[in-house]
Symmetry: C2
Subunit: 229 residues, 2 copies
Amino acid sequence: MQTTALLAVLAGITCLTLISLAHGRGQNAAPQRGDATIPGYSLGRPDLMRSPVSLEDLAQLEEVLLFGEEDRAALRRSRALLEPRVDEILDVWYGFVGSKPQLLASFSHPETGAPDAAYLDAVRLRFGQWILDTADARHDQAWLDHSHELGRRHHTSAKNRTDGAEAAAIVPLRYLLALNYPISATLRPFLEGEGISAEETERMHRAWIKSVLLQTILWSEPYTQQGTF
Amino acid sequence: MQTTALLAVLAGITCLTLISLAHGRGQNAAPQRGDATIPGYSLGRPDLMRSPVSLEDLAQLEEVLLFGEEDRAALRRSRALLEPRVDEILDVWYGFVGSKPQLLASFSHPETGAPDAAYLDAVRLRFGQWILDTADARHDQAWLDHSHELGRRHHTSAKNRTDGAEAAAIVPLRYLLALNYPISATLRPFLEGEGISAEETERMHRAWIKSVLLQTILWSEPYTQQGTF
């Protein structure tokens, strides 16, 4: 299994300090949609830039991704499994990022190369909420605008701004897109459990694969030349 | 199964003429790498623009995708299964494109909306060879340059030029990336077969998922603003 291989890689990483540095989120404080208690969290904020992607564009894109009602329902069912384990999932993902210098660079000072622990911490809080928002699958205008804001925060348009960080000026598009694979693959074991059939795990995993791909596509818009998205 | 659902959708499509229009490639004429008999085929051509992605960049990207020697070997084993069925696979993929107006638009005249049968035909020949090239998994400089050329041919940089077509000026990046899901999902049944264990199918499928994602990432470079890829 790829997941096993990945976990083996993660077991050997030397950046474990990162995990503890960025391990700031309590499991009992899962915030709700639009929860203003997470610093910099933007879903539902009225001052967000309007997404250049319309709800009609989104529907056409979901059609190509074969993302439908079955996936929306599967994502929603996944929340019960994932919510109690958000911190474990983030440990795996942060462990992966910490083990790859080309990824960790996005969280590091461009000159000294030092990872920014406060920045990692702040992002981690929102990343946990992103898991829950993805599971909620409310793909409405507020979510589109929030997705556009997330794209801008990976791109030079708004990187570092939310947290006042002094890290690299951009997450290169190639890595933003490439993360689809490890993020989706490592999530799979968290969709297994007692009383969950292999088919149900498969349904939820498929929905997650599509949703993560959909979201990274939306996030890529700020990187594109005018008229090419 | 998603694949079953998709095949059901495909069974109902009304664009079957497209399939017959574009069904030009004989199964017995599988060309080899760099085969100059396919009009406009570019792998190995010495006059190609050099890819802005270096072999070192590629290695770092493959690392993030968890693409390694096991995947390379699995892709190569998949060739024996896929090569005799290239036309069937293309029928499924062309059927999918033909069933989605937002995808078919890339092969259609921007004003009249009429699909360009000669263009579909010409692309189909090269698309079949792309299956074999992906299975060969020779990720060297020639393949990088060829991948860059494929990106340019989806983007305004070189869309339509190879075949003298008068279709839409671009394949929008959102659809180029979204196709990852249906392309990979519909390939899976072709990786099954007598004497092929479920685990072996899974290994080959995983390698294909990673390779298709890798390639669409490389193809996205011409769409990006300078310095953001």
